[in-house]
Symmetry: C2
Subunit: 251 residues, 2 copies
DNA sequence: GGCGTGACTTCATCAGATGAAATTCTCACT
DNA sequence: AGTGAGAATTTCATCTGATGAAGTCACGCC
């Protein structure tokens, strides 16, 4: 079995992110990171000098410096001697860092971000399903089938269904036997989990998605990469249409 | 124009990574990060205690602590009071962090990683080209055409051709108007640049890839998402076949 | 007006002290 | 011998103060 597949439970994906309660420096990371990604600290501007942050955040210089270094490692900040610490341009940010994604999607994702996420799935998931059909071994196929069964089993419960759906798509990515691809999906799932909580889908709607998922699983089981891709495209195109409709209706 | 498109020159993509020369703490980040990703510090094991690292790396405790915190932020390390600092399991690593990717691919990528990269392109690029065809505006189309022209112009020079090729694919991703997708490609290009330097492709071979790229550009220009996807699939499938052959021949 | 120089700002680093949390060890008790 | 409470120890977490270095900026000289 591949060492990294199905490695992260939903909980552990969250645990990757820096826990704001744990340590003083983590408080600094979270406070500044959320402000930067949230937009209240604009790229190009300077953040307060170390001494001010010490007062403002109520921590020592060590904690401030360690926190700033972590954010610099995520591409959000750049420190320059004598010139202060400036917020780096958005293109430099590690957008697929778990923390950065959380700060972006968790405080209620913006309509534009919902579109980005839906397009991303359309761009990635059909191709991932295709490679999964090419590379899946017996264990991976079984995992997909189990995830499909869980999907059917939870179709009447909105909350567990979301997790089962995320687990199904994850199983598909895991079947592709590609750690980079699986990492990408783990990050997408962080964003998806936030978005899903917003538009609580109806039970009836959930059930309509079951045949599509079934076709994906079947195609991968038969190593039919063309059909796997097509079936997955249908699933994510439907999800994208739903998201667009939801944005139109409520925002 | 979209704020983030075509934002990074090849140089700035590299500059995202932590510069090992710049600061003491950056030395720590690089020294430990390269060892961890390179495999000489295995997941689950402890790294030397702070005091030992101070002696071993010849820096102060502050630098060690800041460096360790940066690596913890990238998911490579976890610090625990009284229990030392341990290397986190591979599934926790931020695999699409520029530094982590560099440490993985730069010291001469391993055959398995070449396969991972080739599969990843097959999974991602056709879908990206499809969304690009859906979303491209006039500016994006022009950028792709310019990149295509540069590809033709450099077909006789192996080195510039690699950069022109990377720029073309980046222009396609940029046309999709999706910052997460573009970020993914920026990271892929870091890995690709390392791999490309290994198998020096022949001039004749480069020229054979031109018609395929032309078809991609044409399809996007005409907003024909189906054809854009198909054309891009052909391009990356050829690249994958080349990579596989290269691995068989030389490794 | 151009340019060099020096004062100043701000981060970079080191060192020492204290604290807190978890592990490990000790040892009496059952 | 097994067990469990508690002490000793380890190791990271944080604060503070001092020093250094690398830019920045302003001022005055030419």
């Amino acid at each position: 079995m591949k060492a990294y597949e199905m490695s992260c439970s939903p909980a552990s994906v969250q645990a990757v992110a820096t826990d704001p309660q744990r340590d003083r420096h983590a408080q600094v990371v979270h406070a500044l990171g959320a402000r930067i990604v949230g937009g209240s600290l604009a790229p190009g501007t300077s953040i307060p000098i170390e001494e001010e942050l010490v007062g403002e955040l109520g921590v020592g210089r060590s904690a401030v410096r360690e926190g700033v270094k972590v954010l610099a490692g995520k591409g959000l900040l750049e420190t320059r001697r004598s010139a202060g610490t400036i917020v780096r341009p958005r293109e430099s940010w590690n957008l697929l860092d778990a923390d950065v994604l959380s700060w972006r999607f968790e405080p209620e994702p913006r309509p534009g971000d919902i579109r980005v996420l839906a397009d991303l799935r359309v761009a990635l998931e059909p191709g991932a399903a295709r490679v999964a059909a090419e590379r899946a071994d017996a264990v991976a196929v079984r995992r997909i089938d189990e995830a499909l069964a869980a999907l059917y089993a939870t179709a009447d419960d909105p909350e567990p269904f979301i997790e089962a759906d995320l687990a199904f798509h994850k199983a598909v990515f895991a079947a592709a036997d590609n750690d980079l691809l699986l990492y990408i999906y783990d990050m997408i799932s962080i964003a998806l989990r936030s978005v899903r909580q917003v538009h609580t889908r109806s039970v009836a709607h959930n059930k309509e998605t079951l045949p599509g998922h079934e076709r994906v699983a079947l195609a991968i089981r038969r190593r039919h990469h063309r059909k796997a891709e097509e079936a997955m495209r249908e699933v994510v195109e439907v999800a994208r249409a739903d998201a667009e409709q939801h944005v139109r209706l409520c925002c």
